[in-house]
Amino acid sequence: MSRVAIVDYGINNVRSVKNAVEYCGFDPVVTHDADTIADASHVILPGVGAFGDAMNNIRARGIDEMLERQVREKGKPFLAVCLGMQLLANTSEEHADDGVAHRGLGWFDADVMRLMPNDPALKIPHMGWNMVAKERDHPILANIRESNLAFYFVHSFAMRCRDAGDVVGFAQYGQPVTAVIARDNVAATQFHPEKSQDTGIELMSNFLRWNP
């Protein structure tokens, strides 16, 4: 059986993503090896940590080129999670030095901005269970009732897409928060499906069976 590659770019906790893939009945491998990623049926880009460090690690290991080839050229199904999703943007203002934003992979015409809820009582990070309202259907959300689209979020920055067609769903936290984006064989979630119980497992299971 072909394996599911979980991209290793030096972040230290991918255990729950790996466990969730196993729980769904698939065979995960945490790797940054080009051949292993080339052999995988599906690719997951997890994410915890800071944008700048993550991009530096990705470039230093040549992961950007690997993903360009396997995901964008060969069309392998791809899921990016949390910071992983933000890395697909053009830029991020997270810890931007001297006002110069960090450059991302640029797969989506989007920028990553600090959350600024319009209610001062709403705290940053946006942390906890929140609902996602769908802008459109997508295979990774198949068979999940709308009233059950509650997911676990932990983040202080979020993506803003220029092309509304890229957005699959928003959460609300004193502002619309881009929660799910997708185009072609690429999907990404700001929340952590691997921490979102049955609904998150359902989403991951949908992704692992997705063959766009």
Binding site: M127, N143, I144, S147, N148, Q172, K195, D198, E202
Partner: protein
Amino acid sequence: MLKKRLIPKFLLRDGRLVKYVRFFENERAAGNPVTTAKVYNDYGVDELIVLDIVPSAASRGRVVDIIERMSEEIFMPFTVGGGVKTLDDVNMLLRAGADKVSVNSEAVRRPEFLREAARTFGDQCMTVSIDYKRISPNHASVFIDGGREHVALDPIEWAQRCEELHCGEVLLGSIDRDGTMSGYDLELIHKAASVLSVPLIVSGGCGSLQHAIDALEAGASAVAISSMFLFTDHSPIKLRSHLFSRGLDVRASFSSRN
């Protein structure tokens, strides 16, 4: 908006689930933590809190093993604590699968530790756990070392100080009400919720569905529950559907299946 949370609280002693009344009385064995966690997972609770109440070098290994086993089959946030004193302790628990680490006595002894840990791992990873007792009708005071040592701190002022030190969340527990199932300390919860800006998890006293409603209406972001889930027929499913039917903003359902 963020949902109010239902959180079973597990106390571990030598790797076994235990429960007391007012921290020291009526020890009861409550089973295997991993098995019980799986049952609660099926019941759709929102998070789990796991605290090692008699921490030692040997018990840390057991806790790590338990968290690793839980994270193989249970996909929700875990807060883990008990005897956390160093950045290495925090790192070890996060690597085992914890999403947040709870600090109690060490934060009182060395407040800078909380700030350092928040700087290293992120505010969202650090929960401060505060146990308190009413020492007179109008005066509450913090206790550390599992309720053994009295320190001259007001629990609400201490919680505010922890917020300044960048804790991401406060777990506030009444020792007087622990295990009694006599209801939460609503007065103190109301006061704490009105001055804190980080989420407030309350613990100690939940014995009925109404008690949980009262605490959430008093301003708590989450209710931690131990005895009621372990020793009564009020399951998390029953509590969630009751809260939902009363209009509280909790997750609607635990199952994603159509």
